[in-house]
């Protein structure tokens, strides 16, 4: 225990930064869940599998000699189209059925997409390129991996772009209005059905970002997003399932906390990170069911 304070500090700082990188991935996928929850009012269990599938598409595109960033953008477009199509074809017919029915439909998608991924690309683990160099930079005595910085920036950059879109564009406003009050939106001339489809499109694209950022470290395999989906859900619930800000903050928080617990609490270690996240999830739900940032509707009648 005679470690100099500076060493301890730099270790902790390293754990925090790599926690932030992982957290940014959870945040992206959590935000995807929230986007769909806000519009369709269900949690999309296939979100992770959709992300995995699109990450495999990115892998295929890159294997055909396309450079990383063009492949990245192309994948986002494909994911977006896929998300829109899924909503139009599968979700639309059950839109007005009970929540349970839609949830089960997304579970059907989970099973089918997971199988399809394994069928098309095989079950073996694949390496996935990272766009960032495998080096570290030293900032204030702390070695931070460029991979972590890049992951964090790409994920949060995507989130910021989305935020600007929702805040300032007409389409973004219309999508938000649909989330809050679909009936009133219809009276404003909004094609509500298409807004829902766009919501699924954006969610799928966000998932693709999360998948492509996660793949270099967790490696590409058909089940790679299952655990990340659960972290993302825990993050979304932590922040309040209807709060986009909450999803992002919850994701980052969870990433850092889990990383620190995993590194410094022996009992948790590597293996028990997921059960720990689950415990956090249950605790939050029991103490504060609407999460940290859950919506308190201010309304005067």
């Amino acid at each position: 225990m005679a470690l100099p304070l500076a060493v301890v500090w730099s270790q902790v700082a390293q754990q925090v930064t790599s926690g932030l990188a992982a957290g940014a991935i959870y945040a992206s996928l959590a935000l995807a869940l929230v986007l769909i929850y806000q519009t369709t009012n269900v949690v999309n269990f296939a979100q992770g599998e959709m992300a995995t599938f699109t990450t495999y598409i990115a892998w295929t595109i890159m294997n055909h000699g396309v450079a990383y960033w063009p492949a990245f953008v192309l994948t986002l477009l494909i994911a977006f189209g896929g998300g829109v199509t899924v909503e139009r074809v599968l979700i639309r017919p059950v839109e007005h059925r009970p929540e349970l029915v839609i949830v089960i439909l997304t579970i059907g998608m989970l099973i089918a997409i997971n199988g399809l991924t394994g069928w098309i690309w095989g079950p073996e683990v694949k390496a996935f390129d990272s766009p960032f160099p495998n080096r570290s930079v030293i900032v204030g005595g702390v070695a931070i991996s460029i991979q972590d910085i890049g992951t964090f920036c790409v994920c949060l950059g995507t989130v910021v772009v989305l935020w600007l879109f929702f805040r300032f564009t007409t389409l973004g406003l219309a999508m938000r209005s649909v989330a809050f009050n679909p009936d009133a939106s219809r009276l404003m001339g909004v094609r509500v059905g298409w807004m829902l489809a766009l919501g699924w499109g954006f969610a799928a694209a966000l998932g693709a970002v999360a998948g492509m950022m996660a793949a270099p470290t967790v490696f590409l395999d058909p089940d790679m997003m299952l655990v990340i989906l659960i972290y993302a859900f825990a993050a979304a619930v932590l922040g309040g399932i209807d709060s986009p800000v909450g999803a992002v903050v919850g994701g980052l928080l969870l990433g850092v906390v889990i990383n620190l617990l995993g590194s410094y609490v022996d009992f948790v270690g590597q293996e028990l990170r997921l059960p720990t996240a689950l415990a956090v999830l249950l605790l939050v739900l029991v103490i504060r069911p609407r999460g940290l940032f859950g919506r308190v509707v201010v309304r005067r009648v």
């Binding site: 269900v42 949690v43 269990f45 599968l90 017919p93 059950v94 059925r97 929540e99 349970l100 029915v101 949830v103 089960i104 439909l105 579970i107 059907g108 998608m109 989970l110 099973i111 089918a112 997409i113 997971n114 199988g115 399809l116 991924t117 394994g118 069928w119 079950p123 299952l226 655990v227 659960i230 859900f233 825990a234 619930v237 399932i241 270690g269 293996e271 028990l272 997921l274 059960p275 996240a277 689950l278 999830l281 249950l282 739900l285 029991v286 069911p289």
Partner: protein
């Protein structure tokens, strides 16, 4: 006249099913028999899941974890302390006398899992349907990690090898036959229990809560009591199924009950038909045979990759959800209705 024609027909179908199950071992190979033993085990797990999801409206994606708890309970009891110490070193040395008779561990596994399920149901009360689904999925995903972490109990990743099961009390039947009857007699008992529960006061309370919690409260039903009860009973069923499963394969490790199984269990309940006890048998058949036949469709002489199973499973589930909300049970009922009507007219 119609009023009694339907129960009579139901009774006839049930009787035919019992005869079929009893006589089946005479006509099939031991390999096939093993498959039908799994059908019986799945039948039990699906009964439990249908009580929770179909009759009480709570989704669980964690039933494989409950099966695993039942399986480990049975395995640990069968090995006993001494057998447990030996199991790690040399499974061949383990002899049945070290622990409990396999048959007796089944109800205990059910009880233990039921209590754990009941306890899990308590915090679950505060969860909305969807959060519950994800919380239970998280349980199923974390269970293998937990099982590996508590190595001294579970044998870690290496798992626990059990002694090969034999028919007890000196019965002179082969092991596969014994396992088949063990599974199906248990299934029959639990079917009757489920039927009585669902028909009675408890079942009415469950359905009332599923159809509207507020209305249920105002008619004097306590959601907290009945929802946790449903969780406990459902878990107990899964625990029994898990124990039977572990005995059947005489081995258990953290991956014996994977997350995939949890998800497929829920899918099978829906495919068979939510809140339909007769749909459960269809669900159990689908769960065992659909992946096999999807991979190698009979007659067509095709052979697909292993993943064809889940793909077809997923698509069947989606088609059922989109087109046949009542599941296969309602489809069968729709097809047989003309027959029932004809019978009623004759009578």
């Amino acid at each position: 006249m119609r009023r009694w024609a339907s129960p009579v027909l139901q009774g006839l179908v049930l009787a035919a099913a019992v005869v079929l199950i009893v006589l089946l071992p005479r006509f099939t190979s031991e390999f096939r028999l093993g498959q039908f033993t799994y059908v019986g085990i799945y039948f039990i797990a699906l009964l439990g899941l249908n009580i929770l999801t179909g009759y009480n409206g709570q989704i669980s994606l964690g039933h494989a974890a409950f099966m695993a708890i039942g399986g480990y309970t049975a395995a640990i009891l069968i090995l006993g302390q001494k057998g447990f110490e030996l199991a790690g070193h040399d499974p061949a040395q383990v002899i049945p006398e070290h622990g409990m008779r396999a048959l007796f561990t089944i109800p205990i596994a059910g009880l233990v899992t039921g209590v754990i399920g009941y306890l899990f149901g308590l915090p679950a009360l505060r969860l909305a349907a969807v959060s519950l689904a994800l919380a239970t999925l998280a349980v199923a995903v974390s269970f293998p990690a937990l099982a590996k972490r508590f190595e001294h109990l579970t044998g870690g990743g290496g798992g626990l090898s059990l002694p090969l099961p034999h028919a007890p009390f000196g019965w002179d039947i082969s092991t596969p036959h014994w396992l088949y009857y063990e599974a199906w007699v248990t299934a029959a008992i639990l079917f009757v229990v489920a039927w009585l529960l669902v028909r009675g006061r408890v079942g009415r309370a469950w359905r009332a809560i599923r159809d509207g919690e507020i209305a249920a409260v105002s008619s004097g039903v306590s959601p907290a009591v009945y929802k946790t009860l449903a969780f406990g009973i459902s878990a107990a069923y899964a625990g029994v199924a898990g124990a039977l499963f572990a005995i059947q394969v005489s081995y258990i490790n953290p991956d014996t009950f994977p997350v995939t199984l949890s998800i497929l269990l829920l899918a099978s309940v829906v495919i068979g038909g939510l809140s339909s006890l007769s749909g459960v048998i269809v669900g159990a058949l689908v769960l065992e045979f659909l992946p096999i036949y999807a991979q190698a469709p009979p007659v067509l002489h095709l052979n697909f990759a292993k993943q064809a199973g889940p793909v077809v499973f997923g698509f069947v589930l989606m088609v059922i959800v989109l087109l046949v909300p009542g599941g296969m049970a309602s489809l069968i009922r729709r097809i047989t209705r003309p027959l029932t009507a004809a019978l009623a007219r004759k009578a």
